[in-house]
Symmetry: C2
Subunit: 238 residues, 2 copies
Amino acid sequence: MSNPLIRKLSSFADFSTEDKAALDALCSSRRSYDKHTTLIKEGDRPESVFLLLDGWAYRYKILPDGTRQVLAFLIPGDLCDINIFILKEMDHTIGLLSDAEVASIPKQALLAAMHERPQVAQALFWATLVDEATLREWLVNIGRRDAYESVAHLLCEMWLRMDQVGLVAGNKFKLPVTQEQLGDTVGLTSVHVNRTLQKMRAAGLIAIAGKTLEILDVEGLKSAAGFDPNYLHLERRR
Amino acid sequence: MSNPLIRKLSSFADFSTEDKAALDALCSSRRSYDKHTTLIKEGDRPESVFLLLDGWAYRYKILPDGTRQVLAFLIPGDLCDINIFILKEMDHTIGLLSDAEVASIPKQALLAAMHERPQVAQALFWATLVDEATLREWLVNIGRRDAYESVAHLLCEMWLRMDQVGLVAGNKFKLPVTQEQLGDTVGLTSVHVNRTLQKMRAAGLIAIAGKTLEILDVEGLKSAAGFDPNYLHLERRR
DNA sequence: CGATAGTTTGATATCCTTCAAAACCTGTGG
DNA sequence: CCACAGGTTTTGAAGGATATCAAACTATCG
């Protein structure tokens, strides 16, 4: 099994053997972290970029009144903070939702790779643009979909993304997220998320067992969400 | 007055004289458009990137049920769609909010500039990351702030961004946006936006005359919004 | 097996929406 | 320069989606 970063970026760029070797070299330093570890805090200026090899993480902001907004879920193959080597400091926090394995890529090494290898630079740019597109869709989710649609949409998205990295089997996948965190994602209360999920189960769309989600009726869930995957830009561009 | 693209990107990168000349050359083809023109539609695959030289534009998506979500406001100096030269197709639409002057940069020329000039590539990357950070803050806005905070926050942001490109005078600036569009931005009804703006005027925070907004009490507005400009990354990174 | 985190439930409160109409602009043509 | 048309803002009354609060129940992990 190849490096998940290469695997992910390859869906866009055509890498030469040297490009791949360079990317591999970048990921040489890896280690495990415990659930709930904070990888990077708002205000930090880390000297390396984190790459999730295994497990889930999430971006979030905490407001002055203590409420939280989740800004993204990160799954294996995702870069956590390309931001940092261009922006002055982190404007949000990244924490782990599960035990995780993480590679740490030195900022300078990544910058060098980008300057020397246009394919790499372009692929990273691509990944960033997909993140941005996802953020836009989340905006639609919170702004213009009701609770039921919104939760359904989020589940569709995570299902597709997990599938893309080979982590879905039989329409089941690990979703190590509490209902409170789901609520903080779609702008709802954990109580309301709970009632919404119950309706979805009653409708036969999903089943939940522990931290594993099973999608029983894919088409039903998609249509409840009004889900159109175009924003994930999964197909290779021409 | 120099090219607004250079002006904007310079706040990050140190361009050589040749870099600047290259950027200038990119913007040679410019023309005027009427208010309400659609620059790019969802599904399009344009062959050039648009740069706003004068006027306002906005990104948005229309849902199947006809509701709309505004995803960004674009002001002079903003690139409309760097997306397109990396992604397969547009996943949203860009329209004009006012009469505008727009430069059209051929995709290939921009790609070439990026490959040949690391400073340019890095600066464009930076602009993209700031856009992304803005999107995250909008997520917070819709997800976790109430109507009053949310509208106040949006006004603070546009004030700062307009100021950054020299379009604020005496705390007044053009805001060519209807209350309906404001509502579609922060996930509210135009009716509720109206009542919210009324409260803000009653509180002495703002004044509206036609399409011009005046901020009467900057600190008051900021504190009503819980506004922290860090996400705009205006300071030059070190 | 107990402690703690997470889920579920019910009752009540509230922010925001919906609908509909009136008042107000802004710009255009006569 | 007036008058009208269409878009925009404003107002009111009533309804609905989601929040809040608090307690019970249920997993999970050391």
